[in-house]
Symmetry: C2
Subunit: 198 residues, 2 copies
Amino acid sequence: MPKIVDHDKQRRIVAEAALRVIRQSGLERATVRRIAEEAGLSVGSMRHYFSTQEELFSFCMSLFVERVEERLENFQCEGPLLHDLKELLLQFLPVDQERTLEMEVWFSFSAKTLVYPELRKLSASVQDGLHKASRFVLDELAASKLAKPGLDVELETEKLYALIDGLAVHGILQRDRLAPERVEVIVEQHLRTLCADV
Amino acid sequence: MPKIVDHDKQRRIVAEAALRVIRQSGLERATVRRIAEEAGLSVGSMRHYFSTQEELFSFCMSLFVERVEERLENFQCEGPLLHDLKELLLQFLPVDQERTLEMEVWFSFSAKTLVYPELRKLSASVQDGLHKASRFVLDELAASKLAKPGLDVELETEKLYALIDGLAVHGILQRDRLAPERVEVIVEQHLRTLCADV
């Protein structure tokens, strides 16, 4: 009987190995050889899972999208709306080790998209998640009548989106200066500024 | 009589060539050979100007810092304070070709600092300029009594800093979606939210 290898599971193992290599050595040094080594596979067998490096990177990015979507789906509304919305936005910020790693790799990918436009659509799909979440926050505030009267939802979505990504970039590049607790305080304060004074 | 070469001028020419190569091909492909070619120099003569690639990149980053400082020094207060402060912040946003190129290269450098911590202090000096400018904006608003009473200057500085960098990242990665005019509207609106209602 032939050995049955779970193709999809194996692809994931390779992708997880790739993410570790990218984080340690940078995207340009994440060669097939190094990724194979990290995944405990032969270089030859890598071709069964990914035929090009771009396909592999594309799969890595889709893992991020999946993880973020999973977190959003499992997201429990537990308390007051403002608390829940803050927790939702923290899903996109480097407040723990897993999210920090994701964002560091996302950052490397994004820098790469400036040179390789074919990667741009992958990066865009990750970005799209945060844009949707920002819009969701604004819509929820409006629906619950917490929002300030006359709030420009389009503009505030764009602004929230930029604020969260800016905090993410500072959180990973200047983590000694901008601690996760501080990030949380800023997000909380920003949400309050969107609400009508009580 | 020996040919007199203006060393500093030549270093600048090399650095400008390096920036063009980085922008076109990415940081990891900006080899000494390609930069020499772009600068119209021999590979051998490059050593007269920069002994290591890191030294060259470091010089490129310092050119950015210099340019930003120059722009800030030449910055003319021309109109109402809010207008001037907005113009100041736009110095850090990809609203024209020169600033877009700078920010794209800055972004590549920053991604690189995650893997090469020795580059981090260069990236930090560029970042520091925007942090100072953000602080300046808040201080000016407070001094002119335009600021909302009870504004948390530390927090608002951090927030403005993140917002501007987030807009910069979106402006370069998603330039089709986020036009410079839109960026300007958001900055203007944000400044108004920092002011007391009149």
